[in-house]
Amino acid sequence: MSNPEKAMEDRRFNESGIEIEPLYGPEDVVASQADDSDGIGDPGAFPFTRGIHREMYRKRPWTMRQYTGFGNAEDTNERFKYLIRTGNTGLNVAFDLPTQCGFDSDDDMAQGEVGRVGMAIDTLKDMEIAFDGIDIQNITVSLTINGTAAIMIAMYLVMAEKRGFDISKLRGTCQNDILKEFVGRGTWVYPVEPSVRLVADTIEYCAKHTPLYSPVSVCGYHIRESGATPTEEMAHGFCIAKAYLDEGLKRGMDIDEFAYRMSFNFNIFGQFFEQICKFRAGRRQWAKILKNEYGAKNPKSMWLRMIAGGGGSGLTIEQPENNIVRGAYYAMISALSGAQTIALCCYDEAYTIPSEKAQQISLRTMQIMIEEMGMTDTVDPLAGSYYVETLTNQMEAEIIRIMADVDARGGIVKLISEGKIQSHVSKGAYEHQKALESGEFRKVGVNCYEIEEEKPEVAMHPYKVEDAVKQTERLKAVKSGRDAAEVEAVLTQLKVAAEGSENMMPALIEAVKAYATVGEMNRVFTSVFGRYDEPNIF
């Protein structure tokens, strides 16, 4: 109920620039509705505003998938087993930077980085050790990797097959969203075009051979971390997802053959209701895009399946225990938003790899919501709120506007290639930082309620050099035990595939089986594709 006489200083806007009124009524819901609105509908039915499943958490709570990985495969396997023991129902794998950027652990570029921010993987051998003893059919695994994702998917599938799993029934996810890596996160390797071709190869291969595996998880997440607003996060994520769908169509596939395996990863930090409405709006808009623009018939193709719960930029190094409270709100937002999976950020994550204790607190936060708070008892409990439905409508309109703007300026792939999206979000980050320093944007413990002379008691994750040494020794041992002629042959085949236009996954799978290293396969690709030349724009 807007009041035109309201004084300017009383006006409030959310981060997406939408004005928030002091009170909402039924007329606001009607006024904010689009002319071609499909309404909110029912859970499990188009347009899926209220959730992609009819029973949602009543049937099964969200998957609890804490993010972890460090040192070598043994270290990570041990932490995986700890997380499963404490109640995690999925795994979310962190890889070290050399693995993510395509360097073997003994490469000069890997010096000092092996096993530091995630687990080091050089060959299939490491993948076998990492998942040893873990039932990867029931504990689904998400691989957080992008630049070298095709290699990692090949390794994961070969490992699963060797373990005796039927890969045609294997579930799991790979992040594999290279376009957003050019905007934020930065683990690109090849130029934009061959990078996208690799993503398309995984989509096509998985649609045919591993129909329950999700080869791509499109990340609005990192675009938001890089400085985008919540509506920009969702709009840019959708533009990127559409670019991958278009690649799939170019391969001659029907939209319903592969769109149903597209998944998403969104950020959670920010204002409570803005976040919830972002997801409800996004879910509805994505369903409409698939149905109306792509002509999808299968409702599953229209589902916005998503992981939420991460929000690094919302956490602070100051008064780190406050992050536990923030985490609880993030978990509640994720649950009220209908997330399929929650990977809840940990209170120490603003500065280190989470400790076991921190991981446990995040997990317990979710378990308390399920066991004590009744958060899984009913579907989309906020539906019908005048505020929530109005803001959902407004957020959706803003998402549509931003997507149209991206298209009008040449499309997401072009804008990313030219560094335009990067420049835009980086400007957003700068404005945000200035607002934080001026006190205009309030952050508890940072620019208000600070503790003078605070010396954060921070337990840093120990980096063990001996793990890196062990890793390079194993790499050496694996390499010396291989059939050199076979390795040469599979790498030659990979080069032929890369130089041609065929799908590169079969050649990658053969290379992985011969224990070719990440670095060797990456060198084949860079010899054909070259390396990405980052536009020097900020």
Binding site: C101, V117, Y430
Partner: protein
């Protein structure tokens, strides 16, 4: 300080760390404060950085590191900085650098260290002060 020449800052992302939000924000703040800034982009080797610093004739070499690899990176860079005779330049590092490593970094030769909660005004003021000759 030469009145007609702006102080030149080379802002570099060494190693494989892809977190560049902070580096870009600092770059914008330094430009607004009147510095001449060159940003290297991601994934720079030690050689890339000293070459860029020499080509640009940078007064300040600023590194952004959030991966935790600051000690090995700075140890290796120190050798190159000496070899390229850039030891007289102001060398600063920012990012996710725990307090317990600050002394080691200073011993290596890093003149100032900033963390993720350092303010832009603090960084700008410090560089201005330290580059006035």
């Amino acid at each position: 300080m030469n009145e007609t020449r702006k102080t030149r800052v080379l802002l570099a992302k060494p190693g494989l760390d892809g977190h560049d939000v902070g580096a870009k924000v600092v770059a914008r703040a330094l430009i607004d404060a009147g510095f001449d800034v060159r940003y290297t982009g991601l994934r720079q080797s030690g050689e890339d950085i000293v070459n860029a610093a020499r080509d640009f004739n940078a007064d300040v070499i600023a590194l952004s590191i959030l991966s935790g690899s600051h000690l090995p990176i700075c140890t290796r860079l120190k050798v190159l900085i000496e070899e390229y005779q850039l030891s007289d330049r102001l060398w600063i590092a920012g990012g996710n650098i725990p307090a317990e490593d600050h002394e080691t970094l200073r011993d290596i030769g890093v003149d100032a260290i900033y963390n993720t909660s350092s303010s832009l005004s603090e960084i700008v003021a410090a560089i201005k002060e330290k580059t006035i000759e």
